[in-house]
Point group: C2
Chain length 452, copies 2
C-alpha cells in the first residue's frame, strides 16, 4: 500500500491528519484496502471521524469539517439532530431489537404514507440494497417475466440482481464473482436519451419485468432528468405490462416532503426508500401498489400456494431505526414549510455561485443538481455537458478529486471526493458563501492546475 | 384476513392481547399480511411489544413475557443491557452515521479477531443476508466457478443467491420472482448425511465454487452436526479447490467466545457473522482468509483491473452499531468464564427437563440443541429422530404451534412459535424450572390433545 503524499495539497492534508494516517495503517491489517465501503477510501487515505453533530464532522486530529457528504446524503436534518438523538437515547433502554411486531413500525408507516400516499403497502428491510433486490423479485413475481431494465450508471446497491453497468466505462465486466447467467437478464439504457432507451426496451419488451430508475442519478453524478424522459419510461412500462419502479432512496423526502414522484408527477407501481426515512439508522423500504405488494404476503395462504419471499431480516422494523425515522419525518412534517425552501435556496445559490467562480476563471464545469443536491463536473474536450452517467464518466475526475481534497485540506469543507454534495437543514447561506469563497481561493491559487 | 380465535388457547391469548389485536388490524392496511417479516406472524395474530429489558418483553397490553426468542437469537446478554444501552445513548449525540472511516469499526474488528483469529480480514455490511450474498460472490470470484452447495433447509437470509431449498418440503419452487437461471447454480445437500451429500457434491465438483453451511441449523430447527459431517464437507471442499464457508451468524460468540469453528475444530476459508456482534443493532460481517478477502480490495488497482464488488452500503460500519457491538464483545470477553458455562448449563437443564416432562406423559419429542440453543420437535409415525431439516419438516408443527401459543397465553413465556429458543446471560436456572413446570402443566391440562 502506497501511502506517500506527493502533491502540495496531499502534504497539507497529511499535516493535519496524522492520527488518521496512523489509524489507516492499522486498518490495512483489518480490512481489505483498509476500508469497509469501497467509496469511503480516497487518496492519500481517508480521515477518521470521531464525532458528528449538526453540519460538522470532527476527526481524530481535532479538525472540524463542514460536511456536504452528510452520511451518504441521508441526514437531511443534520448529524445527531436533538429530536433524533433524544428518540434514540430513550429507546436504547427499552429495546433495540424486539424481534416482534411493534407500534413504532406502524407509526413510521403512517408517516411515510402521509408524504407518499402511493405507499399503499410497505415492507421494511434494513438496507436500500435489500429493498431494490426485493423490488426486482416482486416485479418478476408479478409479471412472470425475467428482464430488468436499469439505467447505465444507475446505482441500486451491491445486490446481485442490480450490480450491472454501475462503474464507468460500464460496458466492462462488472466485477469478479458474478455469473453470466445472473447478468443476462439485466439490460441497461442510457439516462436522458429516450429514443435510444426505447429502442433497447423494444427489443426486450416481451420478457420485460420492470424498469427501475433513480429519478435523479445519485452515485453516477447528481444528474437530473430531462423533460419527458422519466414519463417516457413510465409510459413504455405501463403499455407493455411491465412495472415502473422508482428508486427514491436518495430523493424520497429530500426534494420535498413528498419526493420525486410528486415533483415529476410520476406514478410508479413500486418505489424504494431508505436513507432519510431511517433518521440516520439502517433502513430500506419497499412500497407501492397493494395488489403487487400483496404477492409477498405469507399469511393465510393455502397449502402449497407459492408466495414471493422478500425480507424481512433480523433487524427489519427494529424499534431503534423506527423511532429515529419517525422522529425525523415528524420533524420534517412540522417544519416542511421552512426546511425545503431553505435547503433548496442554498442549493441554488451554491450551484450559481460555483458556476460563476469557475466561469470567471475560464474553467469549464457543469454544476448539476436540483433542490439540495449538487455536483461539480469538470469538462474537457471529450465532454461539454453532463446529462448521463456516461457523460459524467468522461469528465475530468482527477481534477474533481484535487478540488475536493483541496476543500478538505485547506478549507475544512468535506465532500466525499468525487461524490455529490447534499445540504441539510442546519447548513446556512453563510456556509454556501464560505464554500463559494473557498472554491474561488482554490482556483486563484492555481491548486487545480497541472502538477500542483 | 381471518382473525377469529377458535381454540381454547387462542381465546385465552385473545383475552390478554386486545390492544395488540387492534394494532394488528391497523397493520393489515399498512403491511402485506400485517407484518414486516414473514416469520413474525403467528396465529391468531402477533402481540405488539412496547418495551424490552433483560429477559423480558412487555407488550402493549402490559403483559410481561419471559423471552426465549431474544431478537432472533441475537441478544446473548439480554435486551437493552446497561453496557450496550449506555454506549448507544452516548453515541446518539455524537453521530449515528458518519459515512466515513471511524476508529470504532477498527476496535470492533480487533474484538472479533480476538475471539475468532481466522478473521484475517473483515468487511462489514448491515445484515446477515448481505454478508452471505457477498461470501458467495467472493467464492465465485476466487474459484472462477459457479455452483454453490448449500444445506437443504439451510437459512442464509433472503438474498437472491441463497434463497433455495429453504422452506419445507424443499423440492418445490422456492417462491415467485426467482428466475430459473438464478436457481440452476445452487445445489442442495442433506444435513448430517455425508454419504448422500458427497454423492451430490461429486456430480458438481468441477464447477463447485463453495459449500456454505450453518454449523448448527438455526431456522431449520436447531439441528446439531453429527460427528464428522462438517469435517467431511470441509475436506471435500478443500480437496476440490472449492471454498468452505461457515455461516456463524447464529453461532458466532454464542457457543463460546470463539464460536462453532473452534468448537468443532473447523478451518473455514470464509465465515459470516451477524446478530451478537452487532449488540442488537443491524450488522453483517464477512471474514476470513486474507488472500480471498483481498479480492474485494478496490484500492490501488491498475486501470481496468477487475475487483469483486461487495458491500459496504450506506450503513456499513456505522458508529452506532459499532459501539453496541464493541460493548457487547467487551462485556462477553470480561465475563466469558461466567456467561458461557451459565447459559450452557441452563440449556442443558432445559433440554433434559423438557425431555423428561414429555417422556413421562408419553408424548414423543426430540429436544435438539447445543449450549444455549434448544428446540422441541414433536415426533409422529413419520419421523422418530431429528437430524436434518427434512426430519424437522416432517415433525408435528401444528402441535408445536399449540405448545408455543399455550406457553404465551397461559404462562407468559415467549418463543416465536415454531422457532428455536435461545438463553441469554440474564436468564436464570429459575427461569428454566418455570419453563419446565409450565410445560408440565400444559401437558397435564391436555391442552396439546386434539381439539383443544
Amino acid at each position: 500500500m502506497d501511502l506517500r503524499v506527493t502533491t502540495k495539497i496531499q502534504k497539507e492534508y497529511f499535516r493535519k491528519t496524522r492520527r488518521s494516517r496512523d489509524l489507516y495503517e492499522r486498518s490495512l491489517s483489518c480490512f481489505p484496502g483498509g476500508i469497509s465501503h469501497n467509496i469511503r477510501h480516497f487518496e492519500p487515505y481517508p480521515f477518521y471521524t470521531k464525532s458528528a453533530k449538526g453540519k460538522l464532522l470532527q476527526d481524530v486530529d481535532g479538525n472540524d469539517f463542514t460536511d456536504y457528504w452528510m452520511g451518504h446524503w441521508a441526514l437531511l436534518i443534520g448529524h445527531s439532530h436533538p429530536v433524533v438523538a433524544s428518540a434514540v437515547r430513550n429507546q436504547a433502554s427499552h429495546g433495540t431489537l424486539f424481534g416482534t411486531a411493534n407500534k413504532l413500525s406502524l407509526d413510521l408507516a403512517y408517516a411515510i404514507k402521509e408524504g407518499m400516499p402511493r405507499a399503499e403497502l410497505i415492507r421494511y428491510s434494513s438496507t436500500g440494497s435489500e429493498a431494490t433486490m426485493y423490488a426486482v423479485r416482486l416485479a418478476r413475481a408479478r409479471t412472470g417475466r425475467r428482464v430488468v431494465a436499469k439505467i447505465v450508471g444507475g446505482w441500486h446497491g451491491y445486490n446481485t440482481n442490480l450490480l450491472q453497468s454501475v462503474n464507468y466505462p460500464f460496458e466492462l465486466d462488472e466485477g469478479l464473482g458474478l455469473i453470466e447467467d445472473e447478468e443476462q437478464f439485466v439490460e441497461s439504457i442510457p439516462f436522458n436519451d429516450l429514443e435510444r432507451s426505447l429502442k433497447v426496451l423494444n427489443t426486450i419488451r416481451d420478457d420485460l419485468a420492470c424498469i427501475i430508475v433513480e429519478p435523479v442519478l445519485g452515485g453516477a453524478g447528481c444528474i437530473t432528468p430531462e423533460r419527458d424522459y422519466l414519463h417516457g419510461l413510465q409510459e413504455f412500462a405501463k403499455s407493455n405490462d411491465a412495472l415502473f419502479i422508482l428508486d427514491e432512496i436518495v430523493t424520497g423526502f429530500r426534494l420535498s416532503f413528498k419526493g420525486a414522484a410528486d415533483e415529476y408527477k410520476l406514478e410508479p407501481d413500486l418505489f424504494t426508500l431508505g436513507k432519510i426515512v431511517g433518521g440516520g439508522l439502517p433502513i430500506g423500504v419497499l412500497c407501492g401498489d397493494k395488489d403487487i405488494m400483496s404477492l409477498c404476503n405469507p399469511v393465510g395462504r393455502e397449502k402449497g400456494e407459492i408466495v414471493c419471499y422478500i425480507g424481512g431480516g433480523t433487524f427489519a422494523a427494529n424499534p431503534l431505526t423506527m423511532t429515529a425515522g419517525l422522529a425525523t419525518l415528524q420533524y420534517l412534517k412540522q417544519n416542511k414549510a421552512v426546511i425545503y425552501p431553505k435547503v433548496n435556496k442554498i442549493g441554488l445559490r451554491i450551484r450559481e455561485g460555483l458556476e460563476s467562480v469557475f466561469s470567471d476563471a475560464h474553467i469549464d464545469v457543469d454544476i448539476t443538481g436540483v433542490g439540495s443536491l449538487f455536483m461539480t463536473h469538470f469538462l474537457n474536450q471529450d465532454i461539454r455537458k453532463i446529462s448521463s452517467a456516461l457523460d459524467a464518466g468522461l469528465s475530468d475526475k482527477g481534477l474533481l478529486r484535487k478540488y475536493h481534497l483541496a476543500l478538505i485540506a485547506k478549507h475544512n469543507i468535506f465532500f466525499l471526493p468525487e461524490k455529490m454534495g447534499a445540504i441539510s437543514s442546519v447548513h446556512t447561506m453563510k456556509d454556501a458563501e464560505l464554500l463559494i469563497d473557498a472554491t474561488q481561493q482554490i482556483v486563484q491559487s492555481h491548486l487545480l492546475s497541472q502538477g500542483a
